[in-house]
Symmetry: C2
Subunit: 409 residues, 2 copies
Amino acid sequence: MHDRKRSGFKTRTRVDDARERLLGAAAPHGRTARVDLAQADARTLAERVTAPNPVPGYDRAAMDGWAVRAADTFGASARSPAVLRVAGEAENDDPVGPSDAVRVHTGSALPEGADAVVMIEETEQVGDELEVFDAVTERENVGDADEDVAAGQTLFEAGHRLRPSDLGLLKSVGLARVPVFEQPTVGVVPTGEELVQFDPQPGEVIETNGLTVSSLVSRWGGVATYRDVVTDDFEALRAAIQRDLTKDVVVTTGGSSVGERDLLPEVIDELGEVLVHGVALKPGHPVALGVVEETPVVSLPGYPVACIVNAVQFLRPLLKHVGGTDCPPLPTQEARLARKVSSEPGTRTFARVEVQEEEGERIALPTRTSGSGILSSVALADGWVVVPESREGIPEGEQVAVEDWEWSA
Amino acid sequence: MHDRKRSGFKTRTRVDDARERLLGAAAPHGRTARVDLAQADARTLAERVTAPNPVPGYDRAAMDGWAVRAADTFGASARSPAVLRVAGEAENDDPVGPSDAVRVHTGSALPEGADAVVMIEETEQVGDELEVFDAVTERENVGDADEDVAAGQTLFEAGHRLRPSDLGLLKSVGLARVPVFEQPTVGVVPTGEELVQFDPQPGEVIETNGLTVSSLVSRWGGVATYRDVVTDDFEALRAAIQRDLTKDVVVTTGGSSVGERDLLPEVIDELGEVLVHGVALKPGHPVALGVVEETPVVSLPGYPVACIVNAVQFLRPLLKHVGGTDCPPLPTQEARLARKVSSEPGTRTFARVEVQEEEGERIALPTRTSGSGILSSVALADGWVVVPESREGIPEGEQVAVEDWEWSA
């Protein structure tokens, strides 16, 4: 609805430069909490974590056999076996005295008094006696008390995003809770006088961007507050941004271009600083990135596809940065491009594709690439192919990496 | 601790066959709920969803220009323009009467009375008059009321796992809630007389598998109940499984092999049926899969790495199946194998690797591949390389796909 959109941007900042400016102006929030391991999955560690205790924490038999005192076996051979007394089982906590042998299994705690394990194959039990056919040295076939993890060993650095197996490792060293960064908070403010929540009349449009962005924020580890629609009014928009300056990040949708009703860049400029307005990406160049009283403000365009493309490029890394962790690359899958994709050199282009299997081969089938208003083209796509600034399109048949932007991380 | 483990399995079922048997014996639970779109992310649709309303729901201007009655422009040309009356703006709900022209922007609702749009370039406004230099036909430059989505159009089939952009699409057609399958419930039962929750004495081990598996269940869309440790006692184990037959799935950890204290296969056999015991995979062949009173029971081995490998192979697809959706393939990244990986033909091997960047190239560095007890080898790995049954190892330098088993989906 804004006829100056296409021609209105004098310059368009490159995607990487725009992201760098945004992250450079935003500080990690640094607030921490201690959470139970059972609640810590996918959270970000706020401190380096070292092991308070070793694992397993005690010497173990490394073989099935007999725990002994090594000195009792010195000189033993097949011809002249050492003869020990069968003194019980490690599982029964039987200790090993002089000339005793106690039955152990791989992983058993080494019984008190023992300092080595004779492999079962090197022995023969005869009644209450055990013949040992080979000498063992001290610590032979014994696993150290810190074999898996040493006390004081660094397990994870600050900024590490915890995974289920990490929780097991942390528990194994005796930890019950871990220090993590709080999840970043995000105010999500949909804007546009045409937006309604339901039952649109001619000229009205149902609000969808705020809902989608709020769900993406959750997937990316943030806590979204999905605000009511704000109309295209300078004062109303200013108040809406000011209300959410208590959040770690403010995101708006709509009104980010250069038309008469695109007020967000002006509002941000009045309240703080516009870092970037207009980015060399497609679809979705009319994005504005700014900062108000140290709170980063991401003003996403209102066209649904443009909104999502920019959210992935700027909001996702911003949330990670503010939340104290690195932004992991999105997963990709290789596929053969079924039709050529066009792009302008100098512009990073995100071409939505459907991925299909054809005769055992993965094919990437471009969906509608022109227009950014068609929500179904992104909802029904499996991912997108990123055409870098250095290229002018990608020819049919090329092997491409399809990026799936909706994974949780 | 079980010396018959290595030799005890007469046959080992192939991974794919074992999975097929398990899924074949488990039915989708079929329970449904209606949830608000704001809570529906990552949930699975229980029914096909069609659009109750079209999008946008009204005719729109497809160009910046003037809404007119096409008949008023018939015969117009640059030499002999049609002259219309400037009658207002679409944004003000001004209607189009005979010989009227109302200003429209791309996306504006077509004003009442208009049936076409003249592009701005084909006009010139002179005071209150508009000269039109080219005729338009009915519906020219007009977008249909169902241009984005038609009423009745199928948006998603039952079984579709919802993503943030899907939520936007569903909202845009006027839906507020959607029918989804309930999240599958899982009883997670760690077993083993050596297990304690903290402060292990010699011979004792801190319980970690139940915690890790519970977190994985959450990542995979299930709701885990993490039970207290159950000791290696037939009656206690039987009671523990019976208690959780109200769940959609029962998972145990430990006691799944063929040693004296490996009682789970026997318990399952007494209560129901063991479908598979022993699978041709490494690490982790001593897994048991069964069904008790129509509830699938997955008995995972107690060695931490073996536990995780089997959870990913069997529990993840089972949860998806029971929850009514397909199991998406795990994301992979290509890397060059830095050292050879060994495997036995006939056995599917999961070789944990760390992924590193070296001079712009991604390198997969195998971590300890022998032994399945070292939790740190999996917690500190970035993924694993799957060596199929048909191969005997993978040589150094080969390009491999590193599977990341901890993504949420």
